[in-house]
């Protein structure tokens, strides 16, 4: 990461006639696409850049310098589990014996790849207390959708077609209600108590009101406030007694490693974000992987949700991670992530508003600065953090508070890193009082300043061709 805007588009570096590729000479003689009927051939060329190799390499290297990753610095983005992505994972996943395998090869020629899948399925089952996994879903939200499909298929198989509603707490990730809607299910929102956990009495009322129509309850535990839902055994019993299934959103699985398994909590179906809990890189927004696990008997309902075997390359990385840590260390992941989060919370709660006291798990939520008199918002604090070389926490989520600032440090961060972050957060709180305008206009040292979101949305320009025609 550097602080000077690079700013070019590859199209602007293009010069007609430049070449960055080399291909063998065509030795096949008479065959040519010119033999295809004219109506099947394109009329207008694709206007792609024409660049030499060095120009391309420099362009993307320069672009990378305007980006910030976990390897650049602390990335406490709540709910995203931005843990370290071990380099050995990448080395193994790049081996040509794996990358050169076609998905439709005869089984006897790809037993190594098949073994990667079966080993990972077994290990995920052990780690979660569920019976079996399908690895195919290609992201967390894709896993949610797949899991809900399994739940619907289960009810359908019993002729229980009226079960079309999903109970979802108001604190849930936005993907939960969106996945339910894509799956053709109706969302029934469950209220939170003032302590941020599910209101079991409200739930009881909703269950009674919707008797015979509840397909499932979707929860993440710990919830999006980082709080463990202690009533989970009671909730699971309530839903099961009604005939519904329990769905676990695995986005917050990390603190549970070594402490508590979703299967033992009473969940029937869950997804895991391999790119969160199992250290595979987030890649600027994918490729992730969202394996779905189920209780015994539900594996017959795994649906077809992709053309081949899902994001296989990601499985290798997750498998390397689990094998690297092994049974001795994997149990420490949850406790150390939880310790780091609680340590930050306790060291900052005198200057940032902690709406709910007590132990958190891997993450927690502040409701902005404690002293809001100067009008410095969570957005401003987040932007000012960028000036100090930190990625911002997740902001304005969950929606339960107006100024949510959600911090998740992960188990990989050292005490010095965390102490550095704490002192910067305290310094920003001081700056908010001594020089609020400076904080409100942050960031000041990044390649670009705050962007005009309204301009972008009012008149969307989303391709280079549109820029040229402006």
């Amino acid at each position: 990461m550097n602080n000077r805007l690079y700013g070019n588009l590859i199209f602007e570096l293009s010069r007609p006639g430049r070449r960055g590729y080399s291909l063998p000479a065509n030795s096949f003689g008479k065959y040519s696409t010119a033999d295809l009927p004219e109506t099947l051939r394109r009329k207008e060329e694709a206007e792609l850049p024409e660049c030499d190799e060095l120009t391309v390499v420099r362009h993307y290297t320069n672009l990378s310098h305007n980006n910030f990753g976990v390897n650049d610095g602390f990335y406490p983005l709540g709910s995203c589990t931005m843990k370290y992505n071990p380099i050995i994972n990448e080395e193994i996943a790049a081996r040509p014996e794996f990358t050169a395998i076609h998905p439709l090869q005869p089984d006897f020629t790809c037993e190594g790849s098949v073994a990667v899948i079966s080993e990972l399925r077994k290990m995920l089952s052990e780690l979660t207390g569920l019976y079996d996994f399908t690895l195919n879903p290609m992201a967390g939200a894709h896993g949610e959708l797949t899991g809900l499909m399994i739940i619907r298929a289960y009810h359908e198989s019993r002729g229980d077609d009226a079960r079309t509603k999903v109970l979802i707490p108001d604190s849930a990730h936005g993907t939960n209600p969106a996945s339910a809607a894509v799956c053709g299910l109706e969302v029934v929102e469950v209220k939170s108590l003032t302590d941020g956990t599910v209101d079991v009495e409200d739930l009881r009322r909703l269950v009674a009101e919707n008797q015979g129509t509840i397909a499932a309850m979707m929860m993440t535990n710990p919830n999006t406030l980082g709080l463990f839902e202690r009533s989970i055994p009671e909730i699971a019993e309530l839903i099961h007694a009604e005939g519904g299934l329990m769905y676990y959103d695995g986005a917050n699985l990390n603190p549970m490693l070594g402490a508590c398994r979703p299967g033992d909590m009473g969940f029937d179906v869950m997804h895991i974000n391999l790119h969160k809990t199992f250290s595979t890189p987030h890649g600027g927004g994918g490729p992730g992987s969202g394996p779905v696990g189920v209780r015994k008997g539900l594996e017959q309902f795994f649906p077809t949700v992709g053309a081949f075997n899902g994001n296989f390359g990601v499985y290798i990385k997750a498998l390397v991670y689990i094998l690297t840590l092994g049974r001795e260390n994997i149990s420490m992941v949850g406790p150390l992530a939880t310790l780091n989060a609680n340590y930050i919370k306790e060291r900052l709660k005198d200057v940032y508003e902690l709406p709910i006291e007590g132990l958190c798990k891997h993450e927690f939520v502040f409701n902005g600065l404690k002293d809001k008199s100067t009008g410095v918002t969570t957005m401003d604090v987040a932007k000012r953090l960028l000036d100090y070389g930190y990625h911002a926490p997740t902001i304005y989520f969950p929606l339960l508070f107006h100024e949510s600032l959600m911090i998740e440090p992960t188990e990989n961060e050292s005490k010095e890193t965390i102490d550095g972050f704490i002192s910067v957060m305290r310094r920003i709180a001081e700056e908010a009082l001594s020089d609020p305008e400076m904080v409100k206009s942050a960031p000041h040292t990044t390649p670009i300043g705050r962007v005009d979101d309204v301009l972008a949305a009012k008149h969307p320009v989303v391709t280079y061709r549109q820029i040229l025609s402006e």
Partner: protein, 444 residues
């Protein structure tokens, strides 16, 4: 091996700040009955040396074969610079570019990706990527259903890849729309039946066809757009994107939505993933589009800047009213194909396509000349084709695999589908033909 930096002094200091006596006490809010109190039944921790040994062993169980298989996954050339750039940790270890000020790298390449997908498909708009071609097709169907009035079905050609169709059926079943098959005639979409389906069926949101189709045939889509639009349906084309270097683009056929898989742009086969799906559409449909979109704007220093835009369509704002549940997609693989297209450029994609076409036709004729094979269909093909084999296709594929070749993909007992890319030299192809001849002569 582990990645925890905590020393024992630090642990005790941090525990005391957290107000607990032990790590265990951090979980005092978890009911004892559901605590996990035993060791996981997993292997012991491995050192890097042991990890390498473990995967050396698994690697020997795989046989990378000289690949003549396609069916949606192709062994195209990957320029060497790509892998080195996408491994840069600023790209690899970042997440969704919510903080635009420190994410211009990601936002820039997504904008470039969108621009390139729009060029390849000749459509107005592209999003930031989808999971794969199959889910992109299903999302296109849902988009059509949402855009239509009182629509409850889409039509899908029988020549659509059955794996894509299976995903479409899954989404249709749960989302609540029917997928009605347009029959095929000699391996191509039966246009006269499509016409009568469009005039008799109510509530058709969209028509889905594939180019080249599942059997490798390049279909003529003339008039389909008009048929669709007069029936108030959207025209959706799923294309193998590399072939669009030469083939008439979805926009030129009058498509409303263009989707497909980007794997053919040099992405390693990797047992099927990760690849990348793409989705493009007309400007009119932009607010119905699922997934992330990057747009141009300015910052407060009057500099050009890129940002995630039109987020009001998305799940984190709209929750159950969102256009889709997709959020994370295949961003790094979008970078992969963006670099691929930057390196290859307008000429390179055409040259690669030309080589693939020529190699495929050369192999096709050589196999027919052996006398063991006959063309299965009549239509023109690009770099993939079906042949009827006078023996058992399974055993042919197995025997070729024993000799280091992945000869193709089985369509039925007597039909094999074979693909050729620019990676297959004349020598590779001649050797495959010789190998098949030897197999037959040995058997005789």
């Amino acid at each position: 091996m582990q990645y925890f930096p905590h020393t024992s002094e630090e642990l005790s200091e941090m525990l005391s700040v957290a107000g607990v006596k032990s790590l265990d006490e951090l979980y005092s809010d978890v009911p004892e009955a559901i605590r996990f109190r035993r060791e996981y039944n997993l292997p012991e921790a491995m050192s890097e040396i042991e990890i390498r040994d473990y995967f050396d062993r698994l690697a020997t169980l795989n046989d990378p074969l000289t690949c003549f298989a396609g069916a949606g996954c192709y062994d195209h050339y990957a320029p060497s610079v790509i892998q080195s750039i996408i491994q840069r940790s600023e790209f690899l270890t970042s997440y969704t570019p919510y903080q635009a000020e420190i994410s211009q790298g990601t936002l820039h390449y997504i904008f470039e990706f969108q621009s390139m997908m729009a060029e390849m498909t000749k459509m107005d708009i592209s999003n930031a990527s989808m999971y794969d071609g199959a889910t992109a097709t299903a999302e296109a169907a849902m988009m059509a259903i949402a855009a239509g009035k009182k629509c409850d079905k889409v039509l899908a050609s029988a020549t659509l890849d059955p794996k894509v169709r299976a995903v479409l059926d899954t989404y249709g079943h749960f989302h609540g729309f029917d997928v009605v098959t347009i029959p095929e005639k000699d391996g191509q979409t039966d246009l006269s039946t499509l016409n009568s389906q469009l005039s008799t069926l109510e509530g058709v949101a969209g028509v889905i066809v594939q180019q080249p189709n599942y059997y490798g045939i390049v279909e003529d889509f003339s008039n389909i757009a008009d048929m669709c639009h007069s029936a108030k349906s959207l025209f959706i084309i799923n294309s193998v994107i590399a072939d669009l270097a030469i083939l008439r683009a979805p926009g030129e056929w009058g498509a409303d939505i263009a989707v497909g898989d980007g794997q053919s742009l040099g992405i390693p086969m990797n047992f099927g993933g990760p690849g990348v799906g793409y989705m493009c559409c007309t400007e009119k449909l932009i607010r119905k589009m699922p997934g992330r979109i990057v747009g141009l704007t300015k910052d407060n220093r009057d500099q050009r800047a890129f940002v995630l835009t039109l987020q009001a369509r998305e799940q984190h704002i709209r929750r159950q009213k969102a256009t889709s549940n997709i959020c994370s997609n295949q961003s790094l693989m979008a970078l992969y194909v963006t670099i691929y297209l930057s390196i290859m450029g307008t000429q390179g994609v055409k040259e690669a396509a030309e080589l693939s076409y020529a190699g495929a036709h050369y192999l096709h004729d050589a196999l027919v000349a052996t006398g063991y094979f006959k063309p299965r269909f009549e239509g023109p093909f690009f770099n993939e084709f079906c042949l009827t084999y006078d023996g058992d296709v399974d055993s042919l594929i197995e025997e070729c695999a024993d000799r280091g070749f992945l000869a193709g993909v089985k369509i039925d007992e007597h039909t094999i589908m074979i693909a050729v890319t620019e990676q297959r030299t004349k020598q590779d192809i001649d050797l495959l033909v010789e190998t098949i001849k030897t197999i037959r002569e040995d058997a005789a």
